[in-house]
């Protein structure tokens, strides 16, 4: 293994791990103010919105409708109350069929 690549990977590992680990240590046993607690409770849903859009529209470089179709399929299947795993398999199936037949 080349030493410059090795140290690059070690450096990447450290700067990735620190933000993941520090909150657990810094906030251990601390009661946050209610407002901050409320903000943190909101974080998952705001993050999910940001993780899905706009990235899902660009899963196929030249075809924005491909992403729209995938998103639509996922929304529909999960709105019908299916487990997450079926939402995943369902949207993969819909897009595979779309590529084969269109």
């Amino acid at each position: 293994m080349r030493s410059d690549v090795f140290w690059m990977i070690i450096g990447m590992a450290i700067v990735t791990y620190l933000p993941r680990m520090l909150p657990f240590v810094l906030l251990k046993g601390k009661e946050l103010p209610p407002f901050i607690q409320g903000v943190l409770r909101n974080v998952p849903y705001a993050t999910l919105g940001a993780l899905i859009f706009p990235a899902i529209l660009f899963i196929k470089d030249d075809d924005i409708w491909y992403g729209v179709l995938g998103a639509g399929a996922a929304f529909l299947v999960s709105y019908l109350g299916a487990n997450v795993i079926f939402v995943v398999i369902g949207s993969i199936a819909v897009l595979t069929l779309y590529s084969y037949f269109l």
Binding site: M8, M12, V15, L32, G49, L51, S78, L95
Partner: protein
């Protein structure tokens, strides 16, 4: 008593593994492609697997490959990795509120496995999350990521084109599948996710900042905005009650 405690840990571990199944599937095509691209970028199989083993962060690993091909310096690659992954700070702070009390050493260990995907599954789970659950959730995701990075490098090819393309939707479909059940129940969740999506679209499509910052800022803005509105509404109601 000990048997009972161990039984409880195994069952929550198993629940974690079940929760992580979608992540395992979703990582499969991405890890495979990562292995393949790492090979074409000139990384050896050891370097490729080592990176997946100790960094375990998809987006930044991809970015490092393109920076390596550009001939970017090591320091800049590490700095970029830091910026891309700083969003995990917010995610860990959120999970810390939701995690069951446990020895800090266990949390320091499972903190390593917090990604966009493992965070999303854990954070949208009902109730608290236990250490056993986190370990189960992370194990299956981590195994999929590391093993298929290596496999991608070894076989030097990705999936058939159409399947590769359609499997690219997997993680986004999972995010949607995690969001929708809460979305149906709560207007607040609906507004939060819409705001997150709108801010992030403006910031990234307008090329105003790097993706890493954009997700952090969109999340914070939406979460604080909605919380402030709720706070003000409560205050107003409180004052009305006083009169």
């Amino acid at each position: 008593m000990t048997d009972l405690a161990i039984g409880k840990v195994t069952s929550s571990f198993r629940k974690g593994v079940q929760g992580g199944l979608s992540i395992g599937i979703g990582y499969f095509p991405i890890a495979l492609t990562f292995g393949l691209l790492a090979k074409t970028s000139g990384l050896s199989i050891y370097e490729t697997v080592l990176m997946s083993l100790i960094v375990f962060a998809g987006a930044s690993q991809y970015i490092s490959l393109s920076l390596i091909s550009y001939g970017t310096g090591i320091f800049e690659i590490i700095l970029t990795t830091f910026i891309v992954n700083i969003r995990h700070f917010l995610m860990s702070a959120t999970l810390n509120e939701k995690a069951e009390e446990d020895r800090i050493i266990n949390k320091i260990i499972y903190a390593f496995g917090i990604t966009d995907e493992t965070f999303s599954v854990a954070a949208t789970k009902d109730g608290t999350v236990s250490t056993g659950y986190m370990f189960g959730l992370i194990s299956i995701s981590y195994l999929s990521w590391v093993i298929f990075s290596g496999v991608g490098h070894l076989i030097g090819a990705s999936l058939p084109h159409t399947l590769q393309e359609s499997m690219g939707v997997a993680l986004y479909a999972m995010f949607i599948g995690l969001l929708v059940p809460s979305l149906k129940k709560s207007t607040k969740v609906f507004l939060l996710s819409i705001l997150g999506a709108v801010f992030n679209s403006i910031f990234t499509l307008g090329q105003m900042m790097a993706q890493g910052w954009s997700i952090v800022l969109s999340t914070l803005l939406s979460a604080i905005l909605i919380e402030s509105i709720e706070y003000i509404k409560k205050r107003v109601r409180g004052e009305v009650n006083e009169k």
